[in-house]
């Protein structure tokens, strides 16, 4: 049986996927933005996050469901995201390739690594 390799993730896709993993059931657009901002210290565009989530869903790497309305959002409902099994494989593959590529040269990347 032929198996398609999981798609390679772009950098921002990886960042978003990792945020989803961190947030677990609390992952939705705004929390993803806040999480990335908080951890990476960079301001992210809501538009970029949404576009990325859309794209990931189209590629079936994440699944989404509509949540309940909450008052802080002017009564608007959230869309909760969850990494699919294919998405998990993609993330693992991407992370593995980064790790493999960086193995042994961490010192060259400076103190960040």
């Amino acid at each position: 049986m032929h198996r398609t390799p999981p798609p390679i993730l772009g950098e921002f896709e990886q960042v978003v996927m990792l945020a989803l993993l961190r947030l677990g059931p609390e992952a939705y657009g705004a929390s993803v933005c806040a999480e990335i901002e908080q951890r990476s210290g960079r301001e992210v565009s809501v538009s970029a996050v949404h576009t990325t989530l859309d794209r990931l869903e189209q590629k079936q790497l994440v699944k989404s469901r509509i949540g309940d309305p909450t008052p802080q959002r002017g009564g608007k409902r959230k869309r909760h995201y969850e990494i699919s099994s294919l998405g998990m494989k993609s993330l693992q593959a991407s992370y593995r390739s980064i790790r493999t590529m960086a193995e042994g040269i961490e010192h060259l990347l400076g103190e960040w690594a």
């Binding site: 939705y28 705004a30 933005c33 949404h50 959002r73 002017g74 608007k76 959230k78 869309r79």
Partner: protein, 894 residues
Amino acid sequence: MSAGHSAPPPRIAAWLLSRIVPGSRREELLGDLEELFMAQHGRRGAAKARLWYWRQAIAIAANVMRARRRQPRPAGDSFMETVAQDLRTAVRSLMAKPGFSGVAIVMLSLGIGVNATIFSWVNSVLLNPLPGTRQHHELVQLTWTFKGDTLTSFSYLDYQDLRRQTKLLSGLAGRDDLSVGIVIDREAERAWSEVVTANYFDVLGVPMTIGRGFRPEEDLPGTAVTAVISHDYWQQRFAGDASVIGRAVRINAQPFTIVGVAAPGFKGGESGLAFDLWLPMGTQPIVMSGGSRLEGRGNRWMSMLGRIAPGATVAQAQAELNSLVAGLRQTFADQGRYVDQHIVLFTLDRAPSGSVSVLRPVLLILMAVAAIVLLIACANVAGLLLARASARQREIAIRLSMGAGRARIVQQLLIEGTLLAALGCIGALIALRWTSGLLVGFTPPSELPIEMAVTIDARVVWFTAALSIVTVLLFALAPAAQAAPLDLASALRETGTGGFNFGRHRMRRALVVTQVALSVVLLVGAGLCLRSLQAATRMTPGFDASQVTVGWLDLFSAGYSPDEGRAFYARALERVRAIPGVEQASLGRRVPLGFTGGSSSDIRIEGYTPQPNEQPIIGLHYVASNYMSTLRIRLLAGREFTDADVNDAPRVAVISASMARRYWGERDPIGGRFALGGRGEPQWITVVGVVDDIKQRSFNERQTPHAYVPLMQFYSARSVLTVRAAAGIDITGDLQRAVREIDAAVPFYNIGRLSEQTKAATFQQQMVADLLVVFGVLALVLASVGSYGVLSYLVGMRRREIGIRLAVGATRADVFRLVAANGVRLIATGVAVGLVLSIAVGVGLESLLIATQPTDPVTYAGVVGMLVIVAAAACVLPARRAAALDPIATLREE
């Protein structure tokens, strides 16, 4: 992120986003933004949070737009999409050529605007003749025909009989105008009233704003003295005060009580007139002079309006009424009544009275004229579009070769046309707000309460819009039709300046010929009307209106008895004749050539035996002493009335020349006798003088028999003081003072020059002439611009040919002649076609022409002369330009 900080995100940005973001993602995106905005707000403050929100919104919008553009467009899939696409293209191409677009839009605005204006008049005058009435298309005016004449008056007994018996009229009401003196809070003034049957408001379907209408018993004399006032009068005179109900006023010296205010918008039962109040039939004997008119079958004085019953037609109702008249004819056979008399019903838009009757012929002519102006404008725009279509031939050919359907190309051109027409339509509607009111400017001077207000309603707007669509078909279809069968290969090969396409040139030439022909038609029409007016001012109507001042006296509303009235008249004449500068003074019951009609009477003549079936009838005029010398009516024999022709003197009359001819023939009429009325014991009147015929109603009238009788012997409580003064003296103030000094309670009103008042007689000609001159000049300008444009274009197309001609030895004069001859030939053809059409138009105008033949040579010569000048101007410039061409340069162009 406490509730205390919960400020909403910027509303405009949120709204914009809600429009832009596709529905599937809108809710969570806006929710996320709002949640993050709250966080920003709590952390960084309102201003920064708002800035952040805007930044995010712009990023999202940009993203959505980018995504949309990336989506493959299903080109030309649905009809609406191709229309939208073509509309965008059309806007772009119109904006690319602002000069062309501007000229085209102005021309279309003119053409459509002229039509919208005339239609707004037609709409107000003919289509809504009695505003404020319910279902006015069901209303009819009743008239008698009698030996070819149309008479609008009925007796009250006619009314009662017909109303009682008719089944096919659901209602029948009677009315008559009456100018009254009204005293409100001891302040006297004039007002116009209608004396109406009690069911009047019900038949016309006019509700009351406050109070009540008339009750059936108010048709009976001596029951109630009540009045209903108009909404306008209520607002103006009583400031809209509701306590007006129950107010006591004096009308013609009688105490009245106001019981109702009619609905706003309702003006009365005669088109074009605005009445102030209505009085019930039962008050007729006390408000009108001459006593009760409610008895007597021969006393025909009121006009009648009926409402066709549901399911019945006008023809059926008319047949039923005539069968009722046949019954009356039988009942009164011994008195010979109703013989040869039949009822004819007129729908209100064809009513034989009121502004409808005066303006209908004028408006019908103007409608036709406006249509011609529109055709010229369309021809012009079509010419412009054709010129552009030629320039765009290559563009179109490329589109065709790339697979665009011909239908699509035609659609594109039609949409461009529609856009132009829509802009023209908007221009026209903007102008209409002003031009529709111009009708008021034509209001003739008259003692009648004429109101020519025009309202713009939905019907006018729809008409204008529909007309714009028609114009698209007129001007845009030609270029579109030409584009459709375009020969691809040849169009692509063509370079645009060298080749010839004779088909197209034929169409362009036809447009020039059409425009010139149509403007000739309009100019001839304008010329004929102007000549008529000229003829009318030259024409002596048999009297001399210059230096004559007139003013109306109403002794009836001042409560005068006939004897007191005679005494007043005698004193008034004495006083007025003593005013310095007054040459002559007299009294008449009306002014000749005014709007209000005179009275007529059956007569018997001593020594004249009528033919079988002949009923001698004459126009009758009530005048005081010196009337003929005041108006300078030529005395042919005998004498005019003197102060000796008083009430107890023998009854005398002065007759017109045509009456003398008709009934006395070779015999000497002086000393002859005739009697008023066809039956009974004759009261003989002796003829003491014969005067020249004068024009009584219009310049076009046939001379019919008329007689003058002394006002002192045939008393009328209403009369017109008619005074001739020395040149350059204004005696208005002196006249007012004289009347006031005799009795300040006598209303003396509507004072003015007789020459102004007689303008009523040429009102139609004046209106048609004014408008035709405007339209004719407009047409001429449009046509000359159009001719010039086409000629210039043709010269442009033939540059190469002209260059070759010059190169091989043609002189510049030859070239000039060649081009000029081309233009002259076109315009001459147009003039010839126009002259032929004009003869038909002249015949159509004939009823309005005064002493002017429809083929008046002066008019035709003038128009042709004018066209020659315009043709010269339109041809010379392009011809000169052609002659000045540099042959080398033109030949190098390719």
